[in-house]
C-alpha cells in the first residue's frame, strides 16, 4: 500500500506512525488470506507474506510481475481477467475457483476483488483478497456425495421408506413407497396418515408401543391397503428417533413388498398339499386294486363255471366291465400321485399338439373358434406321447366347455423359452436349458380365485355330479410334474382362463435305426385319424410297421390274403366305419387268428361286450391308455 505520509518535525509522532504502520503490516502479512494490490495492467504492486508463502516466492520476485506470469495464460483468461475487469468497473467481485499453487497444489479459493480509487474517483488499483477454502469445499462436496448416495439408496432400492410423526402423520416417503402402495407419483403423502394404509385400527399404536420399548423393531408381515384399496402384504420394520430430551420425535418405517414371497409360499403349500393328497390317492388306489383284483378273480371263476349263453354269464361280464372301469379310475389316481410309470420317448411337441388340435377341431360346436400358433421348428420333449395328448386334449376340452354357452375363441400357442429366463415362473432351482411354453387361452366363464386354488386337487370338479370323476386336471398336474414341467393358471371371471404349460426340451433326436427286417406288421382300425396318429407317434421308432385302416373294404383287402396278414390288429372302438360285428364277421370269414387288442372308451360298454365274448380280443385296454400299456399289450399279444 502506497501512502504519502506527511512528516513533521515531531519525532515521537513520526515514531508512533511508523509503529502503527508496522502493526498494520503485521496484520496484513499474517492474515490467512493472500492479499495483493493489482493495477490496471494486471500487475502485482503489493503482496502480503501469506501470498509469498503460498507461491513460494519472496516479495521482490513477485512485485512487478503480471498475473499472466503468476497464474498462467489459461487460468488468467478463463477465470481471473473477467472478474478483474468487472471490479475495475467499480464493483466488488466475489467468486470461488480452484487454482494451482506451487506450495499447496490445486486448491479451492474464495477471491474478493475490491476496487481502490484515488481522490478523483478514478479506480487505479484493486485489492485482491484470496482465502483458501479448500477444506470447506471438500467437506461440502463430501456431504453432497453422501446425500446423493443416500438419495440413490432411498430411491433405487425396492424398499419403501417413510418417516412419520408419533401420531402417524406422514412427513416424507420415497418413490418405492409410492410404487409399493400403487399410488401415483403425484399423490402427496404430506397430508396423509400412515394409519390409513393399515388394515385395522390400533395396529399402528401397537407398533408404536413396541418401538417405545425397543427403539428398532421388525414387525414381520402385515397386509396393508394400497392407494386402490387392494391388499398388499408387506414386511415392516421401524425405528423410533428421540430428541435431546428423550421424547419421541419421529418414526422411520421400511416397507418391503412380500407379495411374491407370499405367492411362492402359497405355491409350496399347494404343492405339499397335492403331494399329501397324492400319497393318499396312491394308498387308496393300492387298496382298491386289491379289492378289484378279488372281484375280477371271482367273476372270472364264475364265468368259467357258467354256460356262456346263460343269462347269468351276461351279468358276470357286466361285473368284469365295471372292474375295468374302476381300474381306469385307480390308474388315474396313480397317475396323479405319479405312481404310474410312463414310458417316455423323444417326441416333437408341435406334432402332438397339431394332431390334438385337429382332433378337437373335428368335434367343436360352431360358436367356438380355435386359433393356434405353433412354430415349425421342432421342440423335442422326453415324454409319453399318449400322455401329452391327454394333457393337451384335457386342457382344450376344459376351455371349450367353459365357452359352450356363449361361444368364444380358444387360442393355443407355443413358444420356446430359455430356462434361466423362466426360473421364477417355474419356481425351481435347477432348470433345463429350454422349455416349450404352451398357452391355452379361452374367452369363457373364467374362475374365481378360490376355485383356481383347488383345480388341481383330485376329485375336485365344477361339473355336475356324475359328469366326470374330477380327476382330469389333477392327473394332468401329475403327468406334467413327472415330466419336470410346470402348469400354471390365471383366470378372470367372465373374461376367461389361461393355462400355461412348461415342458423341458431335450436337445437331440434319437437315431431311428429300427430293425426294419424284423418289423412286425400292426393294423390300426380307427375312426379318428388324429388319435391313431398319436398312437403311431408313440409306436414309431419302436420296430413296428403300422398300417391304418378306417374302412371295411381295406380291412378285407388286408385280411383276405394270408400272406399280407398283419401280426396284430388294434381296434379302437370309436371306429364308425367298421363296427364290432363287422370285425368279428371278417375274422370268421377269412378264418383269421391274428390277435386283436381292443381299446375302448369307458363310456361305451354295450358295443364291446360282443367283441369280448367273441374270443378274437386278446387284450382289452380302456382309455386313457399309456404308451407303456399299449407296448405291454402288444408284447403279450405277439408273444
Amino acid at each position: 500500500m502506497k501512502k504519502n505520509l506527511k512528516i513533521s518535525g515531531d519525532d515521537d509522532y513520526l515514531r508512533s506512525i511508523v509503529k502503527e504502520k508496522d502493526i498494520s503490516d503485521q496484520i496484513i502479512n499474517h492474515s490467512r488470506s493472500m492479499i495483493s494490490i493489482i493495477n490496471r495492467d494486471y500487475i502485482y504492486e503489493k503482496v502480503n507474506t501469506t501470498f509469498c508463502e503460498a507461491h513460494k516466492v519472496v516479495f521482490d520476485t513477485i512485485i512487478g510481475k503480471s498475473l499472466v506470469e503468476v497464474w498462467g495464460d489459461e487460468t488468467f483468461h478463463k477465470v481471473i481477467k473477467s472478474n478483474i475487469d468487472l471490479c475495475f468497473s467499480g464493483k466488488t467481485v466475489r467468486y470461488e475457483a480452484s487454482f494451482d499453487t506451487p506450495n499447496l497444489g490445486k486448491r479451492y479459493f474464495e477471491v474478493v476483488f475490491r476496487p481502490l480509487s484515488v481522490e478523483t474517483g478514478e479506480i487505479t488499483h484493486l485489492l485482491a483478497e484470496t482465502l483458501d477454502i479448500n477444506d470447506l469445499v471438500r467437506s461440502k462436496q463430501a456431504i453432497i456425495k453422501k446425500e446423493e448416495e443416500l438419495r440413490q439408496f432411498e430411491s433405487k432400492l425396492p424398499i419403501g421408506f417413510l418417516r412419520c410423526d408419533p401420531d402417524g402423520k406422514i412427513l416424507s416417503a420415497n418413490k418405492a413407497f409410492h410404487k409399493i402402495m400403487d399410488c401415483h407419483d403425484d399423490v402427496s403423502f404430506a397430508s396423509m396418515n400412515l394409519k390409513s394404509f393399515y388394515p385395522e385400527e390400533g395396529l399402528f399404536e401397537m407398533q408404536y408401543d413396541q418401538l417405545l420399548d425397543s427403539e428398532t423393531k421388525s414387525f414381520g408381515r402385515v397386509t396393508l391397503k394400497n392407494c386402490n384399496g387392494e391388499e398388499i402384504p408387506c414386511r415392516i420394520s421401524g425405528f423410533l428417533a428421540v430428541d435431546e430430551s428423550g421424547n419421541p420425535s419421529f418414526i422411520d418405517f421400511a416397507f418391503e413388498d412380500s407379495s411374491r414371497e407370499l405367492m411362492l409360499e402359497n405355491r409350496l403349500l399347494e404343492a405339499q398339499k397335492l403331494e399329501t393328497i397324492g400319497a393318499l390317492a396312491g394308498g387308496i388306489a393300492h387298496d382298491f386294486n386289491n379289492i378289484l383284483a378279488t372281484i375280477s378273480g371271482y367273476s372270472e371263476m364264475l364265468q368259467e363255471d357258467l354256460n356262456s349263453d346263460s343269462s347269468v354269464s351276461e351279468k358276470v361280464s357286466k361285473i368284469q366291465g365295471a372292474v375295468l372301469k374302476a381300474q381306469s379310475i385307480t390308474n388315474q389316481m396313480l397317475t396323479f400321485s405319479r405312481q404310474i410309470e410312463q414310458e417316455k420317448i423323444q417326441i416333437s411337441i408341435s406334432e402332438v399338439l397339431r394332431e390334438t388340435i385337429g382332433f378337437v377341431k373335428s368335434a367343436i360346436p360352431s360358436n367356438i373358434i380355435v386359433k393356434s400358433r405353433i412354430p415349425s421348428k421342432d421342440a423335442i420333449v422326453f415324454a409319453d406321447p399318449t400322455q401329452l395328448f391327454r394333457i393337451f386334449l384335457n386342457l382344450m376340452t376344459n376351455a371349450i366347455q367353459s365357452m359352450e354357452k356363449s361361444g368364444g375363441t380358444l387360442s393355443v400357442n407355443m413358444v420356446v423359452v430359455e430356462g434361466k429366463l423362466v426360473k421364477h415362473e417355474l419356481n425351481k432351482d435347477i432348470v433345463a436349458d429350454e422349455y416349450a411354453l404352451l398357452t391355452f387361452k379361452d374367452t369363457g366363464e373364467g374362475m374365481n380365485p378360490s376355485l383356481i386354488r383347488r383345480i388341481f386337487e383330485p376329485f375336485y370338479t365344477t361339473r355336475e355330479v356324475g359328469k366326470g370323476t374330477g380327476l382330469g386336471l389333477s392327473v394332468i398336474h401329475g403327468i406334467i410334474k413327472e415330466l419336470e414341467g410346470e402348469i400354471l393358471v390365471s383366470s378372470k371371471i367372465e373374461k376367461g382362463s389361461v393355462f400355461y404349460v412348461y415342458l423341458p426340451l431335450v436337445k437331440s433326436y434319437p437315431d431311428s435305426s429300427g430293425k426294419k427286417d424284423s418289423m412286425k406288421k400292426i393294423v390300426f382300425i380307427t375312426g379318428n385319424k388324429y388319435e391313431s396318429r398319436i398312437l403311431s407317434l408313440a409306436l414309431e421308432n419302436t420296430g413296428y410297421e403300422l398300417i391304418y385302416i378306417s374302412d371295411r373294404r381295406n380291412l378285407i383287402k388286408v385280411m383276405a390274403c394270408s400272406a399280407e396278414r398283419p401280426d396284430l390288429v388294434i381296434y379302437m372302438s370309436d371306429s364308425k366305419q367298421i363296427n364290432p360285428e363287422e370285425l368279428t364277421g371278417i375274422f370268421r370269414r377269412f378264418n383269421v387268428n391274428t390277435p386283436c387288442i381292443l381299446i375302448t372308451d369307458p363310456s361305451q360298454e354295450v358295443l364291446e361286450e360282443k367283441l369280448l365274448n367273441s374270443r378274437i380280443v386278446k387284450q382289452h385296454l380302456i382309455k386313457p391308455v399309456s404308451l407303456k400299456e399299449i407296448r405291454n399289450a402288444i408284447d403279450i399279444s405277439l408273444r
Binding site: 388306489a285 393300492h286 386294486n289 379289492i291 378289484l292 378279488t294 371263476m301 368259467e304 405319479r338
Partner: protein, 126 residues
C-alpha cells in the same frame, strides 16, 4: 401236485387266489406278509411263489431275494397294486431281482393261472 405259496396281506385277495388255484388242483400255502413267508418257507413242497410287493413286515422284494437264496430253482410271480413309490418301479425291481413274471393289480386270474401253469409246465389232468 405242485405247491404254490401265496404271499399277500389282503385277506380277501389271498382267499380268492387260493380258491382259484385249488380249483386247478394246486397245493396252496398261504402267508399274510413277507416275514411269515420267509420264516415258514418249506423248499421241498414249494415250487412257485405268487407274492405281493408292498406288505407290512418284510416286503415282497425281500421275499424274492430270500426265497431265491433258499431255493434257487423256485419260480416267482410278483403282483402289485401301487403304493408309495409306484407299482411300476416296484414291479420292475422285482423283475430285476429275478421274478419270472409280474402283474399289476387288478389282473386277469386266468392269465395268472396260465402263467403259473406255463412256468411249472403243468398240464392239468381233467
Amino acid at each position: 401236485m405242485p405247491g404254490v405259496l401265496i404271499v399277500e396281506d389282503d385277506k380277501g385277495l389271498r382267499e380268492m387266489l387260493k380258491i382259484s388255484l385249488v380249483r386247478r388242483k394246486f397245493t396252496v400255502i398261504e402267508a399274510g406278509n413277507g416275514k411269515e413267508a420267509i420264516t415258514h418257507f418249506k423248499p421241498s413242497i414249494t415250487d412257485l411263489v405268487v407274492t405281493d410287493l408292498i406288505m407290512p413286515e418284510e416286503d415282497g422284494l425281500k421275499v424274492i431275494i430270500k426265497l431265491k437264496e433258499l431255493k434257487p430253482s423256485i419260480k416267482i410271480i410278483a403282483i402289485s397294486g401301487g403304493g408309495k413309490a409306484g407299482p411300476g418301479s416296484y414291479l420292475n425291481l422285482a423283475k430285476a431281482l429275478g421274478a419270472n413274471a409280474i402283474y399289476s393289480k387288478p389282473f386277469s386270474i386266468s392269465d395268472l393261472i396260465a402263467k403259473i401253469e406255463e412256468l411249472l409246465e403243468y398240464e392239468q389232468q381233467t
